[in-house]
């Protein structure tokens, strides 16, 4: 990027972005393209700053963890953590082995199953409660009773109930996302502007049509939010469940059992840099899945392009 463009980006940003007023945006609908490009030119500086932030973080991490080696000074708390350089080594180590990818796949499959079932059961359940007052009166109280119970507290109950450990993990994962999806669905459906429903009715729509053409699309944004949040929760629960229940069908070699199990196993085996690689892998996987859900939901809601 040439020095000129950087400078322009810098000045434009001075007036537009770091000023707390923000700019009201270019007027008129026809200039959408211009506004988007205007925003892009501002983005480069923030990108550079972000990179600088990351670099500072990594450098600090390296120094803090190596200081006892180099200068004999032990940084409190941080001294025993693995330095980034060893993590990078472990990275290349692990990514070569099949074991890592197998674990990743296993965790991912569990997430997909749990999430999928949560959506498949949760959305209809939520919609039912939103549409039928009787259903809500009956189902909501026990739902709210069970909702505050942390999903992991269900693990022993799940293990007792379900015949295989795999099913119990999936069940707990399902629970984690289920409550979120339902709450968001119900909330979204109940917040629909009454006027949409009245307008449909005044145009002679049947109850079924109103449900399909008004209620459902209007609730989609909230369902999408529930899905994104639920996806995040799912990953949390899968990892936790894997660590607690010993990895399901994995052996003690760490070749199976999912990433949570891999992390725990690596820790037990003293391979701490591997732990960090696992953590990063999980972070990336979680981020990618949430983004995928978000992109998918945007595709399903083309009218939101304007916002």
């Amino acid at each position: 990027m040439s020095a000129d463009t950087m400078a322009t980006a810098g000045t434009t940003q001075e007036l537009g972005q770091s000023s707390p007023f923000g700019s009201p945006g270019a007027p008129g609908g026809g200039s959408k393209g211009g506004l988007a490009r205007f925003r892009e030119s501002v983005g480069t500086t923030s990108l550079v700053r972000g990179v600088i932030g990351m670099v500072v973080f990594v450098v600090f991490w390296e120094v803090a963890t190596r200081l006892d080696e180099w200068a004999g000074v032990s940084v409190p708390f941080l001294a025993r953590l693995p330095p980034p350089s060893s993590v990078v080594e472990a990275f290349f180590d692990l990514l070569g082995t099949g074991g890592f990818w197998q674990s990743a796949y296993l965790s991912f499959a569990r997430v997909m199953w749990g999430f999928g079932v949560a959506m498949a059961v949760g959305i209809p359940f939520g919609l039912l409660m939103a549409v039928s007052k009787t259903a809500k009166a009956i189902c909501f109280p026990p739902f709210e009773l069970l909702r505050p119970i942390p999903p992991l507290a269900w693990v022993p109950a799940a293990i007792i109930f379900w015949p295989t450990p795999e099913l119990s993990i999936t069940f707990v994962t399902f629970l984690g996302a289920f409550f979120t999806v339902v709450i968001n669905t119900v909330g979204g459906a109940e917040q629909i502007d009454r006027r949409f429903l009245l307008a449909a009715r005044s145009m002679g729509a049947s109850k079924r049509t109103i449900f399909r053409k008004v209620l459902l699309p209007a609730t989609l944004p909230s369902i999408a939010t529930g899905a994104v949040v639920g996806m995040g929760i799912t990953w949390q629960v899968v990892v936790a469940a894997e660590m607690i229940s010993g990895g399901g069908q994995g052996g003690s070699t760490g070749a199976g059992g999912g990433l949570g199990f891999l992390i725990w196993n690596s820790y037990l085996g003293g391979a701490i840099p591997h732990v960090v690689v696992g953590m990063i892998g999980l972070g990336v996987a979680g981020y990618l899945s949430s983004t995928a859900v978000r992109i998918l939901s945007v595709k399903l809601m083309p009218w939101r392009r304007a916002t």
């Binding site: 007023f21 700019s23 008129g28 211009g34 030119s41």
Partner: protein
């Protein structure tokens, strides 16, 4: 020049060849192009034009909320913004009354009104409260001191905002479509209310609206703005004497002036409609 006259001479705005162009290096979207307006101290000046024509941009430039690309704006001979200083500094000499209302929802009406003088250090809290109460009585708002903005009707909220602005003794009061979205009855009461307040103060009022009748009823002078990019198409002097009340609306003089403004604005409105211009709400 004695004190009173000096005070009277405050609030003269000179807008010279002002342009605001977004992203000048690449797409160059012009909001406002080469606008020049002279506003006398104490004048009630109205900018009238269709949606999205750039009127708010001009107001924001005077207030200091964003920069201008070229031209200069002077307040009483002092440079607000121009070459070398593209953005004015916001300050209590040019207070704004916002389109959608900007009362602090978490402060009571009294705290809202006293905010300016107290934060500037010009008055202690008790003194500010006394002044605020007096002004509220004059504006017909007594009794609302401990209410929150969320409890007020839009008409009352707007009046509170005007009082909040005027309590700072500004040189200029900038009103951005202040009565937009109100029903006609509330609006006409608000018009008379605003004129009452205007007649009592020496402050310059700079009002933005798209409502032609409102423009001519309120203004000493009406500047008609073209659709984007906004230019000043015409400046019409409203020589109807003050104080004005609703009976003015049916006089021939008023209707004639409205006719002039409508002629100037109508074409622009048509163009704006066809271009699909939207207000930046």
């Amino acid at each position: 020049m004695n004190q009173a006259q000096a005070k009277q001479a405050r609030g003269g705005i000179s807008i010279r060849n002002v342009s605001k162009i977004y992203d000048p290096e690449k797409t160059a979207v012009a909001a406002v192009l080469d606008c020049s307006i002279e506003i006398a101290p104490g004048e009630l000046h109205v900018i009238c034009g269709p949606s999205g024509c750039g009127k708010t941009t001009l107001l924001n430039a005077i207030a200091g909320f964003h920069s201008i690309t070229s031209g200069e704006i002077y307040l009483d001979g002092e440079l607000l913004c121009g070459p070398g200083k593209p953005q004015a500094t916001p300050g209590a000499d040019r207070v704004v009354v916002f389109q959608n209302g900007a009362l602090f929802p978490w402060k009571t009406v009294l705290d809202n009104i006293t905010y300016g003088p107290v934060i500037q250090g010009r008055m202690k809290k008790e003194e500010a409260r006394d002044v605020a109460r007096d002004k509220m009585v004059m504006a017909g708002l007594s009794g609302l001191e401990n209410s929150y903005p969320g409890e007020l009707s839009s008409g009352m909220a707007r009046r509170v905002e005007i009082v909040r602005a005027l309590v700072n003794d500004p040189a200029v009061l900038l009103l951005d479509e202040p009565f937009r979205g109100m029903d006609d009855l509330t609006k006409s009461i608000m018009h008379e209310s605003l004129l009452e307040i205007y007649d009592q103060t020496q402050v310059t009022f700079f009002v933005i609206t798209h409502d032609v009748e409102e423009a001519v009823f309120l203004g000493s002078k009406v500047s008609v703005m073209t659709t984007r990019p906004g230019r000043i198409k015409e400046s019409i002097t409203v020589d109807i004497s003050r104080p004005r009340d609703y009976r003015v609306l049916t006089t021939d003089g008023f209707r004639g002036l409205m006719g002039e403004v409508v002629d100037a604005v109508h074409d622009e409105a048509q163009k704006a409609f066809e271009a699909g211009e939207r207000e930046i709400a």
